[in-house]
């Protein structure tokens, strides 16, 4: 899964899609994930990063990433090869 290439992501968690004019807000962990996606990191790499950086567990990360990625799809912020 890839984020839309022209998506603008600020350091404060403000996301702007210039193609549609839609704006979004993300919380700090959401922002962390978006930045990793923007850098071209894979889902596995992001999962590993979250487990190393936050007080959480594998199951929680699995569930929450699944949900977050689904939301990115639903909000049309992704493109698939």
């Amino acid at each position: 899964m890839n984020l839309l290439k022209n998506l603008a992501i600020s350091d404060t968690g403000f996301v702007f899609n210039p193609a549609t004019g839609d704006s979004f807000s993300v919380n700090p962990i959401g922002l962390d994930i978006l930045k990793h996606l923007k850098d071209g990191k894979s889902e596995n790499e992001i999962r590993k990063h979250l487990l190393e950086s936050y007080q959480t567990d594998k199951e929680t990360v699995e569930k929450d990433l699944y949900d977050f990625f689904k939301m990115l799809d639903q909000l049309r912020l992704t493109e698939h090869d």
Partner: protein, 455 residues
Amino acid sequence: MSNKKALYERPLIQRINTGLMNKFGTKTEYAPVTHIDTFSVKDLITQYGSPVFVLSERTIRNTYKEANRAFKTRYLKVQFAWSYKTNYINAICNIFHQEGSWAEVVSGFEYAKALKNGVPGNRIIFNGPDKTDEDLRSAISNNSPIHIDHLDELYRLTELAVEMNKRPNVAIRVNMDTGIYPMWDRFGFNYENGQAWDAINKIILGDKLELIGLHCHIGTFMLSPSAYATAAYKLSDLALGIKQKFNKHIQYIDMGGGFASKNTLKGSFLPGEDTSPSFDQFAEAICTALLNAGFTDKDLPLLILETGRALIDEAGYLLGSVIANKRLADGRRATILDFGVNIMFTSFWYNHKISPAQEFSSYTEDTVMYGPLCMNIDVIRDHATLPPLKKDDHVVVHTVGAYNMTQWMQFIAMRPAVVLLGIDGKTHLIRKRETLENIEMNEVMPEFLKDFKIS
């Protein structure tokens, strides 16, 4: 787990909608409520299970004192009567009786409860359209004020008075147009079309019943104090008419209940905390109307108030837990809680405030709050702005003290325990969590259905 790692919170992304907000902004409910009075929510759930109803004794007594002050500083003769149907757990009733409340009941069941609690018969007001002969006989024997709802009851009561050779103390319930909608005209006798005056004449000229009071109850969750002023004027008009025609003093005017609590009705633009009138506003409307109605000093009737909801709603909380989170087809977040509409009956008409019971960041998400009932109607809140709750997190539902513990239904699971948070700093179990044995104790299994064989 290393302490160097950052705190985790579920990742959230939300579209920012502009142009849809009102000038007051969106209402967020993420301020955590970790304690009620001085009691930890987590400890209460650990001790009594989840979900659990809790009631603050301090809030009950303070609210009663506030209401009492509002009326007694404006009118000399005031008497509260605790509305049993609002919450008839005996411990709760007795708090109000300790504060000086009479009892106001609407069924033989409630009447028996009040007697059993030790309320003297002449301090139990018997309202409602359904009083059996047995109920009426009991109320006549105990000299309880019986509030007559319809002519059938008036005639039956007259027959029983003759049969028992007693003179029952009665009032009539009067319905009227007070300018509010809907007008409650299904209870009692109408003022405008003369039914109430006819009933009064029948009682006094029949000379078998002692008319001691006049009663009304103009509606529920009333947001307009002025409607009570209208009602008080109309009851006063009847009382003064009785004085003029029969030279008979009416001992009390019972204004019933219906005062709004601080809950937020569904569809309200502003939260109930900002819109519900205070006790002072209701008291000002009612007492001013009575004082200006034209009574002489010695004829001023006792003012009886049967308010229930406004006295108990804020004292009640429901503590519960998150069972699961899910995402609906349209992308909305849904949270499933371990309590359903069967024990939160009032969620059908209020947007109950729901707070998380643990700390979160300030990021929130729009969430639908479902109960666990496996039925589509089981929606506790169809829209709430809450932080990212996760499985097993606790929540606190506010302002649930009225009606939930009387109208609750046992359905697919046991009804929860009810705990009183005492002023003494201790918790007191006032209703045990139900058990399978409690539910099945009234079932009877016919002999031929006791055995079966499934291959």
